[in-house]
Amino acid sequence: MFSFIAQRVFQSVLVMLTVALIAFTMFRYVGDPVAAMVGQDTTTAQRLELREQLGLNDSIFVQYGRFVTQAAQGDFGMSYRHRRPVSALLAERLPATLELSFVSAVMALVLGIPMGIYTALRRNILSKSFMAVSLAGISLPTFLIGILLILVFSVQLRWLPSFGRGEVVNLGGWSTGFLTKSGLAALILPAITLALFQMTLIMRLVRAEMLEVLRADFIKFARARGLPERLINFRHALKNTLVPVITITGLQLGSIIAFAIITETVFQWPGMGLLFIQSIAVVDIPVMAAYLLLIALVFVIINLIVDLLYFAVDPRLRVQR
């Protein structure tokens, strides 16, 4: 167990270093940060000096090395645009993204898993319509869904806000939208947008796995023992379905945070994804680097959790390690 975790941590560090290197190779080409940092009256000489000061003229590897050494000490530098430490900036934006992702993930799981089970067990109209909805869910691009929702619920019906987080309450550095009415209202549309795709994915996955498990011999034997369907479906089939579902779902939940970029852009949701997109526009290299690293970290952590969950769910793994 310990060596397993140690191995994972080592692997994760490698992943992060690679991500950082790739990011730095890329930054050379995303544009000139200085153009966005100064006004039109700033002379070329001053601009060149600023470049020099920021170390933008150093080779990629020097910049990369500098970034990694500083990052190792918890210092991600200053945002070019905001002129504040990137870590503070991300910390400020993290709650918004996490709350949105969390609600979406819960929605995706709470709706996706039962729908998957239902469609696997029944072949009726409801089940067929779930399947149809799921097809639509994976066929509609996220950005289209978001725009459509705004058009219908904000502009036409005026039920829900079209952008932002509403009022937030600050709890010891964590700004939450869960505690106010406007905060909750603002959460609905973006969360649906983000959840829809993942939900259908999870539903289809659960369905496929469940169908597979239902054909296993031990299910046949359970029938031969005269167990009622309910017991067979939920105690035996569902639990066995969970093992493969956990892996994919884990990764999917990770990509919820990544896909939040699009949702946050559409809904002006003040999270990290929006920050990232805005940073790309103004070539705010330190923010971009830190964001990419953070996402990689989230994935690494999710992977670790998934692996640990395996131990919880599957007794076959417990004894071996």
């Binding site: 995303v30 009256d41 502009v155």
Partner: protein
């Protein structure tokens, strides 16, 4: 009463010396004040200075307003002005160019200062409308005596906090998310101020569709800008309307006429744009009126020059739109030796100006009709500027650019856009195509020091007429400002696209 408004981006910082950018400065102008300011028509009006004079060519005297207090309650004096000027010269400052307009400021008494300029400067008050005055005591107390600097490694207090003399004070600042302001009770100009909002909430909304939706759904009182194509929708929607006027920004296309061979073209060994006939052909091929009508919904103002009508020194003689003439354009190309035209890449930002990319596309299809095949390279402004600006080596053959002289004076345009490029004197910095005519340079230098306004305007006119005769640029239009406003709110849309809360009247 609460006023809510949205813009496509946020003010970069609250530090008035952090970034010389119109929106940021215009936003800060509600909190901080300069010596001399603009009114709703961009006319100079007294702010923290009540009187100013130019007793000698290189000397200006400003009389300062008495009884002004900063938001923290401390009084305003000449020391604050001198401190602010010095602060604008600190390493992190982006206002160095403005600060450098003075070589020294002497305090005559607590409410009089004497400014010495390195060269005669007839428009100093104008050039300083965005040099905001900060409190010396406050800055020293909060360790913010230097401008916010990316390199410092330390967070500058002034970056997220403000202490100005303006009508509104910041009560909450979450960059990129929202900024909340409250009316300043002890504002010196309270009596005359029309604006009646008690609280102001500002939120940036990046996506156009979301921004418009926020207005229509009633979440916002004013949003800026709205896409011109959505005006009809705003007209139709209840309770909101579009508000528009030509902005002081001129949009034009430049051509690389300095290199011997274009960087991005199929013509090798020579530069077609060096031939005045080719440049004329390009200009004549483009129908600015059609672009205005179809792409800008008639909201722009076709223009024949690099400065807009609102700019000091503008004259119709060089600013009237140029009529297209496709046949002549073709003939000129043939004459110049390009009967089948040629290919060239047009660099274009896609998130900087109103419908910038669409304008470029339209220009491309118009040029295609005379045989010039345009490869359109539309990129985000970060990439675009990273490619075309001098520090990247002006890597462009043809580009679309917009320009508002920060001083609202034509000299700024002459200096930056029409003067020969010279890195030493920093002239022609935005003359990305390297247009060069020594006669224009000569005139520009004279305009810079001429204090007689009539003579000065005559020289401006002469210089721009030369640029036009050289077909040095393809001017397109003055882009429209385009705001979406609730019907019951009165705002003044200034030609520099700045939201001045002093002019916002709620019902």
């Amino acid at each position: 009463k609460t006023f809510r408004f949205a813009y496509q981006g946020d003010a970069t910082s609250l530090d008035p010396m952090a970034l010389n950018e119109t929106f940021t400065l215009g936003f800060q102008n509600n909190i901080y004040e300069p010596l001399v300011s603009y009114d709703g028509d961009l006319k100079l009006v007294p702010a923290l200075a009540t009187e100013w004079s130019n007793p000698e060519p290189t000397k200006w005297v400003f009389k300062l307003r008495k009884g002004v207090t900063f938001h923290d309650g401390s009084p305003f004096t000449a020391d604050d002005v001198i401190f602010s000027w010095k602060r604008s010269q600190t390493p992190g400052s982006d206002m160095k160019a403005y600060g450098a307009k003075a070589s020294d400021i002497k305090k005559v008494d607590d409410f009089t200062i004497e400014v010495t300029t390195p060269t005669p400067n007839p428009i100093l008050p104008r050039e300083w409308v965005y040099l905001f005055i900060m409190s010396k005591a406050w800055s020293e107390k909060n360790n913010a005596v230097e401008a916010t600097n990316v390199k410092g490694g330390q967070v500058n207090y002034a970056n997220l906090n403000a202490n100005g003399t303006g009508p509104y004070m910041v009560t909450e600042r979450q960059p990129d998310i929202r900024t909340v302001m409250k009316k300043f009770d002890k504002y010196w100009g309270k009596a005359e101020m029309k604006g009646n909002a008690d609280d102001v909430i500002f939120q940036p909304i990046t996506q156009e569709a979301t921004r418009v939706a926020a207005l229509i759904s009633g979440e916002m009182d004013v949003v800026m800008p709205v896409p011109v194509q959505d005006w009809q929708r705003l007209e139709d929607a209840k309770g909101v309307k579009p508000l528009t006027a030509p902005e002081a920004r001129a949009i034009f296309i430049g051509m690389d006429q300095s290199r011997d061979e274009l960087l991005f073209s199929n013509i090798k060994g020579k530069n077609p744009f060096k031939d005045v006939r080719v440049r004329q052909a390009v200009v004549l091929a483009v129908d600015t009126k059609a672009i205005n009508e179809k792409i800008m919904r008639g909201a722009a103002k076709p223009l024949g020059s690099l400065v807009a009508t609102a700019i000091n020194g503008y004259a119709d003689s060089y600013g009237a739109p140029i009529a297209p003439d496709v046949n002549k354009s073709k003939a000129l190309l043939k004459e110049a030796g390009y009967p089948d035209g040629f290919e060239v890449t047009l660099d274009c930002p896609n998130d900087r100006y109103v419908n910038d990319e669409k304008v470029c596309q339209a220009v491309a299809s118009m040029l295609a009709r005379v045989g010039i095949k345009i490869n359109l390279l539309a990129q985000t402004k970060g990439k675009y500027f990273g490619k075309v600006l001098p520090q990247a080596g002006n890597q462009t053959s043809m580009y679309l650019l917009g320009w508002t002289p920060s001083s609202i004076d034509a000299h700024n345009a002459l200096l930056n856009l029409a003067s020969c490029r010279d890195p030493k004197t920093s002239t022609g910095q935005f003359n990305l195509g390297g247009y060069c005519n020594p006669k224009v340079d000569e005139l520009t230098a004279k305009v810079g020091t001429e204090t007689d306004q009539v003579k000065r305007n005559a020289m401006i006119k002469e210089a721009f007429e030369i640029v036009r005769a050289d077909w040095g640029y393809l001017p397109l239009h003055q882009q429209p400002m385009s705001w979406g406003v609730k019907d019951n709110i009165k705002v003044i849309q200034r030609a520099d696209d700045v939201m001045d809360l002093r002019n916002v009247v709620l019902p």
